[in-house]
Amino acid sequence: MGLLAWVMMGLAIWHFTIFLPDRFWGGIVGAFVGSLVGAIVIGLIIYSVKVSALKIPGENETDVAIVLYAIPGALIGMGLVYLEGMRRERANAHVLEEAD
């Protein structure tokens, strides 16, 4: 249940990337992957630290606070994809400049 909530939260946050300039590595789909993976991984890490065991919260353990664990993950995931996109853009620009 926790996983479902994290995926939902990741997907929800991803929808708002439409307002950002498309500089994500892999574009909007890259942002989608970053958001979902980030939400799940960071959610899992936070929860595992909390319960001192690597596990996904089940139906009874999932509450609103646990759903919110996905937010930093989604943001970090998308942030990383965005930074990588910028880095690649700069690298390409550099290559083009050299070619000119």
Partner: protein, 1007 residues
């Protein structure tokens, strides 16, 4: 073959099939499922025994044996089938006692014969034939001589393994280290503090803890798992009888530890039957007589001879003979049935097995008949655990059937009305197609035969919408072609031709989803999947072939020659909305809904039904007014004080209905509850309950349902992605996946917010949403794919905007048309159908929305990163300052989104005069195609479009042969709209040598 002849043949085939369908409908009976006619359904999970693994062979043998048992019950049209890898589903229509059915059908009946005294283990952990306190002496196997189960386990677990061929707890070759499906002894879970056995015997240690609930474990107790090695078994003492021979305690907590060395098994027994002990000195009590197989005869005589000799040797002078008699033990399913003694004075050389033998003691006529029946059918090769059982009253079934039929008729009616209003003559033809579809489908249901269940009816009603959708897609295309200037005849032909690919794509996906559902889902959902799959195929035939032939045949009739009759008059106003520009707001809307949904899941969770959580649900009406408190008291008196009792207002069950939820109960216990309620609330001689139905789901079944749902969803997503990647290109598959995920999660969020129960029907509905959501997306993407080569200079967002504007009406129409029968289900269906319809309604609405506002924008954003489209966008921005929503002409007016309606005057032979024979745009296009015109190297010199309305066909041909992107635009065409389509003037005849021929872009252009 001419079109006319082809249409005639198709119509002849349709008529022939209708005649055949009527014959089938008249001749064959409809098979109704348990939910529609009442009965008992039992789902068993097979578990391996020492003698057999769970595989196809053992399951099929178990099914054969169960079928023979069911036949003895006299059940009409039973259905016993495999479900999944290790489950057997038994449906017994019109059977009202689940408990009796369960006892008869699923009993494993593992029968073993032991030489008693030499095999009983004494206090020293060794066989102690002379220790009467261990064997029971003359009272062999009696409860007063056995040990409590806990003590018996402790005694047994001390014994070293003895591996024999006939061990009942050892699979040949298994070692103590192997786990799972490798049987090496038996396991018990002990509570040392209270000296109790919590669980066991189980084949593996893991099984001991499977589904162990916290409340099963006493507080402060550390449980201990122990293994009893192969070669040693525990058997329960004989039932305790009173002086009159009546059983007072069937299963006493008194156990004997035995050397597991059976001499005969149930397989050695032949012709068992219930009889009476009427021989010399017989008591007249019911017993079971039987014969032995040839192997059994020799073994039986040999063993009884040894027992007789041993008795003779044991006999002491002055001691009564009875004290020295030795015994033979009959053990059925770990319980001692009887321990007959062998009288060495009567049978000094053993009992001649040619005359057969008998098992007597403690039987009633019914129990003797049951044992005889079990022995007659043979022991099941595998152990069967009842993981789910349900019982539906016949009245309830009949009501559900009526509700389903009403919902179907209403759904059909409103779909017909919609088609007629929206498409006029075309709608009437579509209705004809739907009627034919209904006839074929009903005939197929009877012919195959398909057992019609409630979910099956839901599938059928949904396919009405799907069948109508196919017509809508084609009719919209036909209208478009006619509005584009084609003649009615040509418009119909081209509309069907062009719409066909989209229909096939959409239907293939629906069919694949149905197939996956059928392969993976539980029996209940299989009915839905089967009807959905077959319905999709049949609808493809009726909606495409039959209606095309009908329309083709009528194309010269006055009913269809006027475009207005087809609803293809002048288009009042096209969609000019900037879909891609507004997508950020729609994205925000979806994001917000998902956010709320995620928080709802965290706060409220999902209300999983017993299908997933396990438990027993009883739904019943009462003949008199009762209160929740009164029912709770009855439940407490039967030992279920924690039962949850709720008022259940459902007209199908009748007034004064209640729903009682408890932990999972076996059918016998449900029966006890029914009896208690019947007695307590009886009105005179009328039992207290009516329309009593129950469903019990074990934890294993719940897990199976959940796992199969997850696997089905993942498999569907993979197959759908692969199909889209193959039919379109892989970049089209990702937005589709995202849109599907969006739909599923939004549906989950809505379920959480509304608190509706999630059942197996919901899962089936979710999977259907997967297929259906794609229907819309494919319609949109198909048009995008078609427009890509037609607009070689436009930005991708412009192509998508134009595609959306072209297909939005049909997309809305198909969604609305599917929603109509779904709404009928929601309004008129019973509880099950309403559950189903709710999920479908949310999913279909979300699917239509996501196709337009999620999948397409994602595709746009992704495709616009491609260098070709990036260059186009850059160029348009450079030249126009911004990218318009739609590809525009130099003056800023939209380009060819809607052909200009004007009197056609184009002729390839020059200007036509009123008296001359005129040709339509489509016909003109065909002529251009025949001339095989090719594109020129450049487009310069003819910047201005001379005739937007008459240029569609030429542009299409031209565009298909054009490069998707030109990197360098000639400087001398400043007024030329960089995003506009090609014009007919750009066409250069093939013999223009300056025009190099280009290869057709097969990736995008299909036509």
């Amino acid at each position: 073959m001419t079109d006319r002849r082809r249409n005639f043949l198709v119509l002849l085939l349709v008529a022939g099939l209708i005649a055949a369908s009527f014959a089938v409908i008249a001749a064959k009976k409809t098979r109704l499922g348990l939910d529609l006619k009442g009965g008992v359904e039992l789902v068993y999970q097979a578990k391996p025994t020492a003698q057999a693994k769970v595989d196809a062979e053992s399951l099929n043998r178990a099914i054969d044996i169960m079928r023979s048992r069911v036949d003895k019950l006299g059940v009409a049209q039973p259905e016993i089938q495999r479900s999944g890898a290790d489950e057997i589903d038994v449906a017994l229509p019109e059977v009202h006692e689940a408990a009796r059915a369960e006892q008869e059908v699923g009993k494993t009946a593992q029968l073993f014969f032991y030489d008693w005294e030499p095999n009983v283990i004494g206090a020293n952990g060794k066989p102690s034939p002379k220790e009467t306190t261990a064997t029971g002496g003359a009272n062999a196997g009696a409860a007063q001589f056995g040990l409590p189960e806990y003590q018996a386990v402790l005694r047994a677990q001390k014994r070293a393994p003895i591996l024999r061929k006939n061990d009942t707890t050892w699979s040949k070759g298994c070692t103590a280290q192997q786990v799972n499906n490798c049987i090496y002894g038996s396991w018990f879970l002990l509570d040392p503090k209270h000296e109790k056995v919590i669980r066991g015997p189980e084949e593996t240690e893991k099984s001991l803890y499977a589904d162990l609930k916290p409340k099963e474990v006493p507080k402060g107790v550390k449980l201990k798992a122990v293994r009893v090695n192969p070669g040693t078994v525990l058997v329960r003492a004989r039932a305790i009888e009173n002086e009159k021979g009546k059983v007072t305690q069937k299963e006493p907590n008194s156990w004997f530890v035995l050397n597991d060395n059976p001499v005969l098994t149930g397989a050695d027994v032949k012709n068992p039957r219930q009889s009476f002990d009427e021989g010399a000195g017989g008591t007249g009590a019911p017993n079971v007589t039987f014969e032995f197989s040839s192997h059994g005869k020799s073994v039986f005589q040999q063993v009884t001879k040894e027992i007789a000799h041993r008795g003779q040797e044991t006999q002491l002078p002055g001691v009564p003979k009875e004290a020295a008699l030795q015994h033979f033990a009959v053990v059925l399913d770990e319980g001692l049935i009887t321990t007959p003694s062998i009288d060495y004075t009567r049978y000094p050389e053993g009992i001649d097995a040619n005359t057969g033998s008998q098992i007597s003691g403690g039987f009633t006529i019914t129990s003797a008949q049951e044992l005889a029946s079990e022995l007659q059918s043979g022991a099941l090769p595998v152990k069967l655990e009842l993981i789910s059982n349900s019982q539906v009253s016949a009245t309830l079934g009949k009501t559900a059937l009526n509700q389903g039929l009403i919902a179907g008729l209403v759904g059909f009616g409103i779909v017909c009305l919609f088609l007629l209003l929206f498409y006029r003559v075309l709608g009437a033809i579509a209705i004809g197609g739907l009627v034919i579809y209904g006839i074929y489908f009903f005939a197929l249901i009877k012919l195959i035969p398909i057992t019609l269940t409630l979910p099956g009816i839901a599938g059928l009603i949904l396919t009405i919408g799907v069948a109508a959708d196919a017509n809508i897609v084609i009719f919209e295309r036909v209208k478009e072609e006619i509005r584009g200037g084609r003649s009615v005849i040509s418009g119909i032909a081209t509309g069907y031709k062009r719409g066909f690919a989209a229909i096939v794509d959409a239907n293939v996906v629906t069919f694949m989803t149905a197939f996956i559902l059928f392969a993976l889902a539980t029996a209940e959902v299989k009915g839905f999947a089967l009807t959905l799959g077959i319905g999709t195929l049949v609808s493809l035939f009726t909606a495409v072939l039959a209606t095309q032939a009908a329309l083709g045949s009528m194309s010269r009739s006055k009913f269809v020659t006027h475009p207005a009759a087809l609803g293809a008059g002048a288009k009042k106003r096209g969609w000019t909305f900037d879909f891609m520009g507004a997508s950020k707001w729609f994205f925000s809307l979806s994001g917000t809904i998902l956010l709320i949904g995620a928080l709802a899941i965290g706060g409220k969770g999902l209300n999983f039904g017993i299908d997933f959580k396990s438990g027993t649900r009883i739904q019943t009406a009462f003949v008199q007014h009762v209160s929740e408190g009164e029912i709770e008291k009855v439940m407490a008196s039967t030992g279920y004080a924690n039962a949850k009792v709720q008022k259940f207002n459902n007209k199908s069950i009748g007034g004064n209905g209640y729903q009682i939820s408890t932990k999972t109960l076996q059918p016998t216990k449900v029966q006890k509850i029914k009896q208690a309620l019947d007695q307590k609330f009886a009105e005179g001689s009328t039992p207290g309950t009516k329309n009593f139905s129950s469903t019990s789901i074990g934890p294993t079944f719940g897990k199976t349902v959940a796992n199969s749902a997850i696997i089905a969803i993942i498999a569907s997503l993979l197959v759908i992605s692969a199909y889209i990647a193959l039919r379109f290109e892989w970049k089209y598959a990702i937005p589709v996946l995202i849109a599907l995920m969006h739909d599923l999660l939004i549906t989950a969020g809505v379920y959480s917010l509304t608190g509706r129960e999630v059942t197996t029907s919901t899962v089936a509905a979710l999977l259907t949403i997967l297929g259906y959501s794609l229907y819309d997306t494919i319609i949109v993407f198909d048009r995008v794919r078609e427009n890509v080569p037609r607009m070689p200079r436009a930005a991708f967002s412009q192509i998508v905007n134009r595609s959306m504007s072209e297909v939005l009406t049909r997309s809305l129409a198909t969604s609305f048309c599917t929603l109509l029968p779904v709404l009928a289900l929601l309004g008129f269906g019973g509880e099950t159908l309403k559950d189903f319809a709710f999920a479908l309604m949310v999913g279909v609405a979300s699917g239509a929305y996501s196709s337009i506002f999620i999948a397409s924008p994602v595709l746009t954003h992704w495709k616009e990163r491609e260098s070709g489209y990036r260059n186009r966008r850059a160029r348009i921005v450079r030249e126009l300052g911004a990218v318009p929503a739609y590809a525009t002409a130099a003056g800023g007016e939209p380009v060819d989104v809607e052909p200009v309606k004007r009197k056609r005057s184009v002729s390839i032979f020059g200007a036509s005069s009123p008296g001359e024979e005129q040709i339509s745009r489509g016909e003109f296009q065909d002529l251009v195609r025949d001339l095989d015109v090719d594109q020129g190297a450049g487009n310069g010199g003819r910047a201005e479009r001379r005739s937007a309305g008459a240029s569609v066909a030429q542009k299409e041909r031209k565009a298909r042969r054009a490069e998707p992107e030109r990197q360098a635009e000639p400087e001398q065409q400043p007024k030329r709209d960089p995003a506009a389509d090609l014009t007919p003037e750009d066409l250069v005849l093939k013999d223009d040598k300056s025009a190099p021929k280009r290869k057709r872009n097969r990736k995008h252009g299909r036509r």
